[in-house]
């Protein structure tokens, strides 16, 4: 006999459960957490580097670095003498909640105000997996072209903040910032949009002011 069995269960329910655990741990410790996502080469690590450089005397940072292989990015951040956990997925194209949970269990959370997770360089898969981190930040860049919001809508939809990086290159590259911003607002009216250059620090203060505000709200 043939029949239909209704299931309605999420394949990712295990991931969701662990993401909730991560979320609760960070909430209890009053830690502001950031999930930095973006294409390879968009400038995620430089963005993180500049952020820590400016605020290292004001707040205590901790970093979880996600890469398929190598510790190149975590080595760049070592100069700040902050706790850093390097995760090598060995092939997985995105971080999942269990990886991040293992990461935070290896950090002394009492000594952290802001936890930065740098996700794998990838515009597709990281958006599909909740890792229990509070703020999703998509770092897009002038050199990637102005059509990324249209081509990768889930990434931009699920992000709270969109950083458009490398604006110092605007004189050399055809990039319609207005079109990019319009596409962004169409997909997410709530998203916070900041265009800046991590390299020259142009408009970087707008991001820093936002981060200070978010952190103070969290730790008070």
């Amino acid at each position: 006999m043939i029949k239909i069995l209704r299931i309605e269960e999420n394949l990712l329910s295990e991931n969701e459960k662990i993401a909730t655990q991560v979320r609760n741990i960070l909430k209890e410790k009053k830690i502001l957490s950031l999930n930095i996502m973006g294409a390879p080469g968009s400038g995620k690590t430089t963005f993180i580097e500049k952020t820590i450089e400016i605020l290292k005397d004001d707040f205590k940072f901790g970093v979880i670095e996600g890469d398929i292989e190598g510790k190149y990015d975590s080595e760049r951040l070592e100069k700040f003498n902050i706790p850093i956990i390097q995760i090598n997925t060995g092939g997985s194209c995105h971080l999942e909640a269990n990886m991040v949970k293992n990461g935070i269990l290896n950090l002394s959370l009492e000594d952290i105000d802001i936890l930065i997770v740098e996700n794998i360089g990838n515009l597709i898969c990281p958006a599909e997996f909740d890792i229990g981190i509070e703020k999703n930040i998509i770092v897009s860049s002038i050199t990637e072209g102005q059509d990324k919001v249209e081509k990768y809508p889930l990434m931009f939809k699920t992000s709270h903040i969109c950083i458009l990086n490398k604006i110092d290159l605007l004189p050399f590259i055809d990039f319609d910032v207005i079109k990019f911003e319009n596409d962004l607002k169409k997909i997410s009216s709530q998203i916070n949009f900041i265009k800046l250059s991590s390299k020259t620090a142009e408009n970087f203060n707008q991001w820093i002011e936002l981060l200070i505000k978010l952190t103070k709200e969290k730790i008070s």
């Binding site: 299931i7 309605e8 394949l11 599909e128 889930l154």
Partner: protein, 85 residues
């Protein structure tokens, strides 16, 4: 390439249900996913069949993907399965 982990998680859930319901054969598995998800139906079936090819309960099962979740919803939902009992 996360079709492997999708199949892995899918089988864990379905195996439990099949045991509980004395299922002889699974014919179809209907998944609901986000419209912007990168999961590909052909790819998924290819990997699923390779993994279950020696298992008489699952070897002829076909996975169908419906991009039916709201754009902001994440997840891969097993909506229902067509079975022979």
């Amino acid at each position: 390439m996360h079709e492997f982990s999708v199949v892995d998680n899918l089988l864990k859930i379905i195996e439990k249900i099949c045991q509980e319901n004395n299922v002889k054969k699974v014919l179809k598995i209907n998944l609901k996913i986000n419209p912007y998800s990168c999961l590909d139906e052909d790819n998924l079936n290819f990997i699923f069949s390779s993994i279950v090819k020696n298992n008489p309960i699952y070897k002829d099962a076909k996975i169908k993907i419906k991009k039916a979740l709201a754009p902001i919803e994440r997840g891969y939902i097993i909506e229902d399965i067509e079975i022979e009992v």
